[in-house]
Symmetry: C2
Subunit: 259 residues, 2 copies
């Protein structure tokens, strides 16, 4: 088991730009890694819509999510950020952060002012890299839309658990189908377009059937094949081409996934 239980990377990069993305990704990450690592406690905002000086972040460990609120107080979580993900790239060209990014757990991250990152785009390789990151986020978003629009609760949860799993696995943060996902059931609900109550019931079913357990921030996938069956029905693998090639490992020792 193991080997082929992780989806092959899919949206590969255009051949003509793989070299550019290699070096661009390396330099972009480098710029962030040269800043001191900062920390945010769980539930504190990392990027806030009203920030004077918008910024871009690179997550080192812990999880965060991008969310926005409805007038009636409900919330939608558009994206879950895992270690290695960038956040707030929109700030480079748009005024006023589109949404806020909140730490789900204690989070270690690097941050640069939007203006600084904008200046980095003078480097063509970095500009291409940022276009790539945008395209990936875009695909991932469309995938979530399809998931919410067409799949039932069990399948949506399966997609989430597998997405995070595959992301962490590819980046080398985990080697077995177990990981920390510091989200409350309410946050999962807000991410998947469900209610807290129904998420709870669905998780119970997955647990009782021996497929997966999600308890207090710990995910244990017991039967990854059956879990993938639930998630099957989705158009494409879609967890995008994973990371910028081996940039992280050049500078840092294995990054801890948990908070």
């Amino acid at each position: 088991m193991g080997g082929d239980s992780v989806r092959r990377e899919w949206p590969r990069y255009a051949a003509a730009v793989t070299e550019n993305l290699m070096s661009g990704g390396r330099r972009l990450r480098q710029a962030f890694l040269q800043t001191p690592m900062r920390f945010a406690v769980a539930r504190s905002p990392i990027i806030h819509p009203t920030d004077r000086e918008p910024s871009v972040v690179l997550l080192r460990n812990g999880f965060a999510f991008r969310s926005c609120y409805f007038p009636d107080g409900r919330r939608a979580i558009a994206r879950v950020l895992a270690p290695g993900d960038f956040g707030g790239l929109d700030n480079i060209v748009l005024a006023g952060p589109a949404a806020e990014i909140t730490a789900a757990s204690r989070v270690g991250y690097h941050t640069l002012p939007a203006a600084t990152v904008r200046a980095l785009t003078r480097d063509h390789d970095i500009a291409l890299t940022m276009l790539m990151l945008g395209a990936e986020a875009h695909l991932q978003g469309d995938r979530l839309t399809a998931t919410i629009g067409r799949l039932d609760a069990a399948a949506r949860i399966a997609v989430l658990l597998l997405d995070i799993h595959d992301r962490l696995f590819r980046r080398g943060f985990i080697s077995r189908p177990t990981y920390n996902l510091p989200m409350t059931q309410e946050q999962v609900a807000d991410h998947l377009g469900l209610t807290l109550v129904h998420v709870n019931r669905t998780l119970r079913r997955l647990r009782e059937e021996g497929i997966a357990v999600f308890d207090r921030g710990v995910v244990i996938i017991r039967d990854i094949d059956r879990l993938r069956e639930f998630a099957s029905g989705l158009p494409q693998p879609a967890e995008l081409a994973a990371e910028l090639p081996a940039a992280t490992s050049t500078t840092v020792s294995p990054i801890r996934t948990d908070a």
Copy 2:
């Protein structure tokens, strides 16, 4: 009526780059407009996942949509492209188009090979413009996710009708709350995460209540305020900062919206 019935533009551009986006947008559009206009009949693919040579398109008139299919044959429409929209920008950095773009009606468009557009990113202003376009699409996608995840059928349809209306209005294609939207009810359903049948019933309700009519590709908004009430509940205006400033009008006479 009229004036304030259209939402103000919202995600404004970062002040530092408005100039760049002006000229970048102009040059980018210019590059497309110099190619001969091509046409696609309704329901034909404009960009297909299996294209040898991936390309980027700029819609001149008519509508198209980006979609992908589920293994069981169901479909998800991730984005509706209106005149003035770009499509397939992901192709510049990713290999293999992420999804296919299909003409909803007869469509007039310009197209350039991905490699050509990639070369254009050497122009820093154009690179920034493309980042902006990506960011806008991204926000729009998140907005759709929130819509599908948290709003009911009537609200989702209201959001769609208003989004298209505002887009066309801002670009100067229409001046009254009436426009052509050449989509079948099934396509609307696939876009909003509903079923054909339920879309039909909901449209009937909106019609009976004198709020809006959507009949055979023609949209007539009868009471835009009440329609906005339905759609209210959404986090942010979100139809992004509209278009690249006045680039279209420099070269082209008023573009027809319909097919």
